[in-house]
């Protein structure tokens, strides 16, 4: 059962009464229960929901703020923006208990309404696994191959030598995997190799796409706060047709070489759930729970990076969608 979470007042403040009404009308044909609520009251709704319920937050941070979790690493991020808190029945945001996704707006009401319309029919939320695209910083190719091979037998591209000038993305691509550098200050992702950091991906590289799914390990890959669509690769992917985007809101970590830990591990576990046919929201939820268990089993504890990984990965898109 999909539960849609929005805050009418913040929508009205941003887009006016007419905008709020337009958005409300867009909800009419979505199968699910609609809650006009505030961040403080979501936990109560979640606590009263069934375990298989899923939640979809409407709007970016300025319309429905991310929960600001304390950063367990001293790395320059003041907080970690997370939606885990809104999917938990208690006030501990480390592990969510329900599937959750969000539709960011990029400051553009029409874009938001377009994304809501795209979830009207269940068949629209099913995507095929025909074409894949994988791109990694050259220094991480060995680690990235372990993640990419869960979804594809195709060759993983490396940057360098690949760059924004050389890559070509097929509009029929259904699944994307990126292991690149990112920044909260630019709309580009970067490769790394031979002491160089070439631009590996820019919004201009993204063609019109079908119902695709993206998983990125890039730092700030899902950072959309105060970003317009063209300012953000995440928002550009969504604008170009991508239905599901999973990435990090803050600085993300991974190992220099296998075995997979941190962002590599959450990506591997997520893709394993996806190819099993799990719904996208459940795939991320299950990946987080399995990540927690695996780190306790293998390492005996979660360090700051592990806890940050659990908090920072968010889903943009309908949690009820799935790969067929």
């Amino acid at each position: 059962m999909l539960n849609i979470i929005w805050n009418k007042k913040s929508i009205k403040d941003e887009f006016g009464e007419k905008g709020a009404q337009k958005l409300k009308n867009a909800f009419n044909s979505v199968k699910g229960e609609i809650f006009d609520t505030t961040p403080y009251l979501v936990s109560e709704i979640v606590a009263n929901s069934k375990k298989d319920s899923s939640f979809l937050i409407i709007g970016g941070d300025h319309l429905f703020p991310f929960y600001k979790a304390e950063n367990p690493t001293r790395d320059g991020d003041d907080n970690i923006w997370t939606d885990n808190f809104y999917a938990s029945t208690d006030d501990d945001p480390l592990l969510p208990e329900r599937a959750i996704g969000r539709l960011p707006d990029g400051g553009n009401l029409d874009f938001l309404i377009e994304k809501i319309h795209s979830i009207h029919y269940p068949e629209n939320d099913e995507i095929r696994r025909d074409e894949t695209f994988g791109l990694s910083a050259a220094v991480w190719v060995e680690s990235s191959r372990n993640v990419y091979r869960v979804i594809s037998k195709r060759k993983l591209l490396a940057s360098p030598p690949e760059s924004t000038h050389s890559i070509g993305i097929d509009g029929r691509t259904d699944m994307f995997y990126f292991n690149l550098h990112g920044s909260d200050k630019t709309n580009k992702w970067y490769g790394q190799g031979n002491g160089k950091y070439p631009i590996a991906l820019a919004p201009e590289n993204i063609p019109e796409l079908g119902k695709a799914i993206v998983f990125t390990e890039a730092c700030y890959g899902a950072y959309t706060i105060q970003k317009s669509i063209s300012d953000s690769i995440a928002l550009t992917f969504l604008k170009k047709g991508v239905r599901y985007f999973v990435g990090s809101t803050t600085i993300a970590y991974g190992p220099p070489v296998p075995p997979p830990t941190e962002a590599d591990l959450i990506g591997t576990l997520f893709f394993k759930e996806i190819v099993k046919g799990e719904k996208v929201g459940n795939a991320l939820l299950n990946a987080k729970v399995k990540f927690f268990k695996e780190m306790i089993d293998n390492q005996g504890f979660l360090d700051g990076n592990d806890r940050k990984t659990l908090l920072q990965f968010v889903l943009y898109g309908n949690p009820e969608g799935r790969l067929i």
Partner: protein
């Protein structure tokens, strides 16, 4: 093990993958890994006691092809005896 020895171990470990970090002075912290029982309950496993670990954080600015500065962060996790548990780097 003394703090200076832990620092040296961390510098040696990070230098293997990041020779450019060899001269970076790391921030060295002793941390407690305790986690609230509710997370263990959500994961369906028995609560585990926290451990004391060392974490060394190395930060260095790099410049992208377009001339934009990005910060590279490497973190080395060690147990109390100085055994390297994990090396991580920022994406």
């Amino acid at each position: 093990m003394k703090r200076e020895q832990i620092k040296e171990l961390a510098i040696n470990a990070v230098s293997e993958y990041h020779p450019e970090m060899r001269d970076v002075e790391p921030l060295l912290e002793m941390m407690d890994t305790s986690i609230g029982h509710s997370s263990f309950k959500k994961a369906g496993i028995s609560p585990q006691p926290g451990k004391r670990i060392w974490v060394a954080t190395f930060r260095k600015e790099e410049i992208t092809e377009e001339g934009f500065p990005i910060e590279k962060i490497a973190r080395v996790t060690l147990d109390e005896s100085g055994k390297i548990i994990k090396i991580s780097e920022s994406k």
